[in-house]
Homo-oligomer: 135 residues x 6
Amino acid sequence: MLYLTRREHFNGAHRLFNPNWTDEQNDATFGKCANKNWHGHNFDLYVTVKGLPNPDTGFVINAHDLSSILKKEVLDKLDHKNFNVDVHELKGVLPSIENIVQLIWKWIVPHLKGCQLHCVKIIETENIYVEYYGE
Amino acid sequence: MLYLTRREHFNGAHRLFNPNWTDEQNDATFGKCANKNWHGHNFDLYVTVKGLPNPDTGFVINAHDLSSILKKEVLDKLDHKNFNVDVHELKGVLPSIENIVQLIWKWIVPHLKGCQLHCVKIIETENIYVEYYGE
Amino acid sequence: MLYLTRREHFNGAHRLFNPNWTDEQNDATFGKCANKNWHGHNFDLYVTVKGLPNPDTGFVINAHDLSSILKKEVLDKLDHKNFNVDVHELKGVLPSIENIVQLIWKWIVPHLKGCQLHCVKIIETENIYVEYYGE
Amino acid sequence: MLYLTRREHFNGAHRLFNPNWTDEQNDATFGKCANKNWHGHNFDLYVTVKGLPNPDTGFVINAHDLSSILKKEVLDKLDHKNFNVDVHELKGVLPSIENIVQLIWKWIVPHLKGCQLHCVKIIETENIYVEYYGE
Amino acid sequence: MLYLTRREHFNGAHRLFNPNWTDEQNDATFGKCANKNWHGHNFDLYVTVKGLPNPDTGFVINAHDLSSILKKEVLDKLDHKNFNVDVHELKGVLPSIENIVQLIWKWIVPHLKGCQLHCVKIIETENIYVEYYGE
Amino acid sequence: MLYLTRREHFNGAHRLFNPNWTDEQNDATFGKCANKNWHGHNFDLYVTVKGLPNPDTGFVINAHDLSSILKKEVLDKLDHKNFNVDVHELKGVLPSIENIVQLIWKWIVPHLKGCQLHCVKIIETENIYVEYYGE
């Protein structure tokens, strides 16, 4: 079994706040991330698939094909977007990277052929990242 | 003459658009950066000062003092903010990093003692950065 | 299950030598790392916790809370310290990063609530790092 | 169980093409990587071993010894080489990093004492890497 | 005056050897880089332009336009190429990064409008880079 | 004129304190860096030389020769050393990176032939670096 990882990049704006809470509760929990006028990040996305190399190509998956899937299924929906406002599937969901990696997992799985999705990882800042293995 | 550089980090949201232009003109020039619901970035700020080392400390400037100045004069105004909405001095100004480095220069200069400001640099993505030397 | 990783940073001095060995044995095994006047490193600490996101926050753990735990339980004990001299729990222990990650594991575990410690990783140089998963 | 990782670096040239295919098929699958005059990369190699720290040294393996093994068993065979032409074991094999990590695994295993090989990882570009765990 | 830098990336193969020299002279000077079957690198290209921000856009140059120029004038000629064989302008020239940055300078200058070329920089490995300022 | 930069790496321990000051003054100025039992860092050294490429080699300087000079003249004196104790030329000098880059300049200059020293830069942490241009 070989594991191949492809990195992509997207930028976006979001706001972390719980509409069921008071402003004081939101500020105490989310701090500056609750700014009502939004803030944003550069997000690095690492997607890992696993499988056996195809003997004709030497590839688990052609990295250019994986990149095309990620651009169409993920980046077109998230890049330069406001996650709270512009992303249908995040309506009513806190747009933490914990919730976003699970959404990306669902978006990618149906499009992979000949290999399995292993991990979706998002680096939000150089100090924080989240990984999801599908269960 | 020695040059000391201190890095700080801030996140923010912005929108690049010219209110005197049509939506079509804005889209043609700014592309996804014109998204009306904002997008954002992780910004790395590098501030370089120059001077002679103080013989008592070996420092051009105490890097902790420089960091304190940057936190108070720059990061408190920009970190986790919407540059178009939350930053008084950017009202009516396109919040490109070209314009932001010039503003940061003005904010820092009055607070440096015993050394001169040499360069303000902002890295917006791993592919784009801007530098300003004060003239 | 989601995995969240927080990076922190500390600097320190140490010396790798075995007091039961001759200087020749120490030099043969530890080379320059046995310098009796110490040497040091920048250490990057990556701590990974796992759990389910809290539906109220979207977080496995609030990264600011995790950072506070790491600052109090780890960095206050190791940052800008001499690991052989200043760290009580390392007395009589070779201060290799293999031994330090195990110590950090013990320091952190009692302070995590609502999630489990998954991995402690230290990067000693860009060419060497160690990971510990608790068993 | 502790996991220690050592990074090494090598450069090389290769060409991705399948001799049983037409030029059109090769271009469609491998694109620019099929250039008949070769292209090349900087490859970062990360080798992870696992084991218990030796109480006399604090080490799972002495990182300098691991580096020596990697230089002799891997870098002498791959560094500044043409993988299609200069590497005996890659004759008739597509020199994808999927195939190269498996070869490196075989080269290293016989030379490790007191610890087990856990992972061989090659970073081909900042956007693509492959990992192999031996099965 | 503002300085904007755009990064691009290309891979390539080359061989450093002087056809007027013996193999021994070439080996003594270029070492492994003289391998007759080629080797290669990942090259990071940083191009810096200087000028005044356009008041309508806030930009010294639209970074997407600069990227388009670099893709057409530089990457189409160098990416995934053999510099000794595939690049007309490098025939008879040692394809060191010193010589390549000068060639890139000539390729870019005629295509910049409203700003001046300031620096062309190539990073060949994490340990070596070259900069050219046009004189 | 071309500018070539070579990176090298060294680790070391140091203590920042002024022997003419009280402990309180030292703590107020140097904070944790005044720890009497030392602390340390990974230091990245970037040395830039300038000159015309040699037509026989394409090189401003052979990067391997520059590396040999740096290993002999700089790294043998600083790597895995205690800067306050082990380095003769730093006796009585505050071992700040401002003072160390000037010392490295003096060490390198006599050994360069066919090119000029342009800049000595040390990165002490990812947040602080110093550059010296010889005047």
